[in-house]
């Protein structure tokens, strides 16, 4: 089939790759000139299904378990499998207990355990939770590499082009997949945006090997190490649909929390700030909607890199009219997920 994918965020590129791999002729059309308009450009890139389970339904865990393998195949070398460390300031240690009660896949660490894992945090936390099976990736490198791979393998990707321009007419394709994220608000019933803000800090004084989450009743935060001494610090969750600039209060809160994690972050350079809109449905779970030759993939909320693989494969399976691969079979994902995926499908 000739398939037109609208939107080159993580949802669009993952769908494009899954469909391309299934033998379809894929064209991706992105309105913006580059990736910077995509919410996934500002993402943390944590492949942390167990940590997310603390506040998300079981489906996020079940569908997210295969994400690290999927990305490692799609973009070899992109995935770092070093787990996730969760800590809390001494006065909020109760938050660790609560976090632990609501998920699984972790082991408790004492102060020595935390220090052994992340020497930079030695002496700073008495306890921690280690999610050994989790992984992370650099969203920007990964998106760029996946784009390059798609192009190298014969897919077409057009940036700065609207659907309808030069060869991008829906009529010349058998199927159109809309992956335009928050821009689909108004077209997709129930889709809203949840504002998120992030910072990029740069310092040679701190070394972390894995994402670290700092629990706090008011301002929970994560820090994801990136190459070149950079640290992605995120992220606020605000029920606002305004993109705009990062607010001073959010910067203050994120920096305060980063400083609480390690005082050396106070001396870091503030390399970047960013604000984006996460697309979300009322249940904060992604969905495939549509039928025939028109589909929409949307609502990844804060789980773009985590859930785009399972959604992309589910779409490819639907277009192939074959059952999903074993990793996505109902026994691992539950009826809730299938019901969700099949929304809007004609029997």
């Amino acid at each position: 089939m000739r398939i037109l994918v609208k939107g080159a965020g993580v949802g669009g590129l993952a769908a494009a790759f899954a469909l391309h791999r299934a033998g379809h002729q894929v064209t991706v059309c992105e309105k913006a000139a580059d990736f910077s308009a995509a919410a996934s450009w500002l993402a943390g890139g944590m492949l942390a299904p167990y940590c997310e389970r603390e506040s998300a339904p079981e489906r996020v865990l079940a569908d997210g378990l295969g994400a690290a393998d999927w990305w490692a195949q799609a973009v070899p070398g992109s995935v770092t499998r070093a787990g996730t460390l969760v800590v809390a300031p001494a006065r909020d240690e109760g938050e660790l207990e609560r976090f632990a009660r609501r998920t699984r896949g972790f082991e408790w660490l004492d102060a020595e355990g935390v220090a052994a894992l992340e020497p930079a945090l030695a002496g700073r936390f008495r306890r921690g939770l280690f999610f050994r099976e989790e992984a992370h990736l650099d969203p920007r490198r990964t998106l760029l590499a996946l784009r390059d791979r798609l192009v190298a393998e014969g897919a077409v990707i057009r940036f700065g082009m609207e659907v309808g321009e030069a060869g991008l007419s829906p009529a010349s394709h058998d199927c159109v997949v809309d992956c335009t994220g928050a821009a689909a608000r108004g077209r997709l019933p129930g889709l809203r945006a949840v504002r998120g803000e992030m910072l990029m800090l740069e310092t040679p004084e701190v070394t972390l090997s894995r994402p670290v989450r700092l629990l706090h009743p008011r301002h929970p935060l994560y820090v994801v190490p990136r190459a070149g001494g950079r640290f992605m610090v995120g992220a606020t969750m605000i029920e606002s649909e305004t993109q705009g600039l990062v607010s001073a209060r959010s910067v203050m809160e994120l920096l305060n929390a980063a400083y609480a994690l390690h005082p050396a972050f106070g001396e870091a350079h503030l390399a970047e700030t960013g604000a984006g809109l996460r697309p979300a449905f009322a249940d904060n779970l992604p969905a495939i909607t549509g039928e025939g030759g028109q589909f929409q993939i949307n609502g990844f909320y804060r789980h773009g890199f985590l859930l785009a693989p399972s959604i992309a494969e589910a779409l490819a399976a639907r277009l192939a009219k074959t059952p999903a691969p074993a990793t996505l079979a109902p026994e691992t994902s539950g009826p809730e997920k299938l019901g969700h995926f099949l929304q809007g499908e004609v029997a």
Partner: protein
């Protein structure tokens, strides 16, 4: 029914809408709690909303709140000054087309204690502009009097710091507050952690309870919302049923008149006359 600024409300639970895992879970919590009033924070969710448009309705989240079909009590959570709180209240009136405002002026960033001086001043300003103010205050009687003098018809004392989940830390003060303002609708706002806390303050004669984190932060918010609805109804019913006061001595629940109990030697096991509550 409790009457708040002339509006009769069936449920005595006021539920906050912040920090649920998803709007769908919030909706389910509202439904199962059977609450008639939800509070909404404008401070942060309003970030960047245009102030020039005459059709300022906020974003999709506010649309969802409006669609819940319950009364909305917007709040000024996160405001630290009179000016901020007054401005936020005016935006709230525009967005939710209501004169109701839960007035919250925070005095201390860490403890989130209300600044009661700024609170009284902001209440005076807002009431002069036609607002119906629900002030979030401490259990201080004099502050309560000043809020009433400013024109408030409802008082909302805390029972513990916001989000602390400690429950009523000073029941004697809450009892005195109820006694001091017998005719004023009193709503315990902030500090509730468990349904038993809500029952306890309702048994003291409070008219309603306002809470948020105790539900939104629970592992199953919708189930916890229902539990709170039942606990508050139970506490109210118990208050109306005139519960016993504690006493120092055991009191038999079985009548002892005509039995030989008074003649029994003290070392005999008494099958009657036990203190059964």
């Amino acid at each position: 029914m409790v009457s708040l600024y002339g509006t009769e409300i069936a449920s005595r639970l006021l539920l906050g809408t912040a920090r649920y895992p998803s709007p769908a879970i919030l909706e389910e919590a509202v439904r199962r709690s059977a609450t008639g009033i939800v509070t909404v924070s404008l401070r942060r969710e309003m970030a960047g909303v245009k102030k020039d448009g005459d059709r300022n309705r906020g974003g999709a989240f506010f649309e969802m709140i409006r669609a819940l079909g319950v009364r909305v009590l917007p709040n000024t959570a996160g405001c630290h000054s009179v000016e901020e709180a007054v401005l936020t209240a005016k935006m709230a009136r525009e967005v939710f087309s209501t004169d109701w405002i839960k007035l919250e002026v925070i005095g201390h960033h860490d403890s989130l204690q209300p600044d009661v001086f700024a609170l009284v001043e902001a209440a005076r300003i807002l009431i002069a502009e036609g607002f119906q103010v629900f002030p979030y205050t401490t259990e201080d009687l004099v502050v309560g009097e000043k809020l009433l003098a400013a024109g408030c018809k409802v008082l909302m004392p805390w029972c513990a710091p916001i989000g602390s989940a400690m429950g009523p830390v000073n029941p004697a003060a809450l009892r005195a507050y109820r006694a001091a303002f017998p005719e004023v609708p009193l709503i315990v706002d902030a500090g509730i952690g468990r349904p038993s806390h809500a029952t306890a303050v309702m048994e003291l004669g409070y008219d309603a309870v306002l809470l948020n984190t105790a539900v939104s932060g629970a592992g199953d918010p919708a189930a916890m919302a229902e539990a709170f609805g039942q606990a508050i109804a139970a506490g109210r019913m118990a208050y109306l049923a005139d519960p016993l006061s504690p006493r120092d001595m055991a009191v038999p629940s079985t009548p002892v008149i005509g039995k030989a109990v008074f003649d029994l030697p003290p070392d005999l096991p008494a099958s009657t006359g036990r203190a059964v509550a």
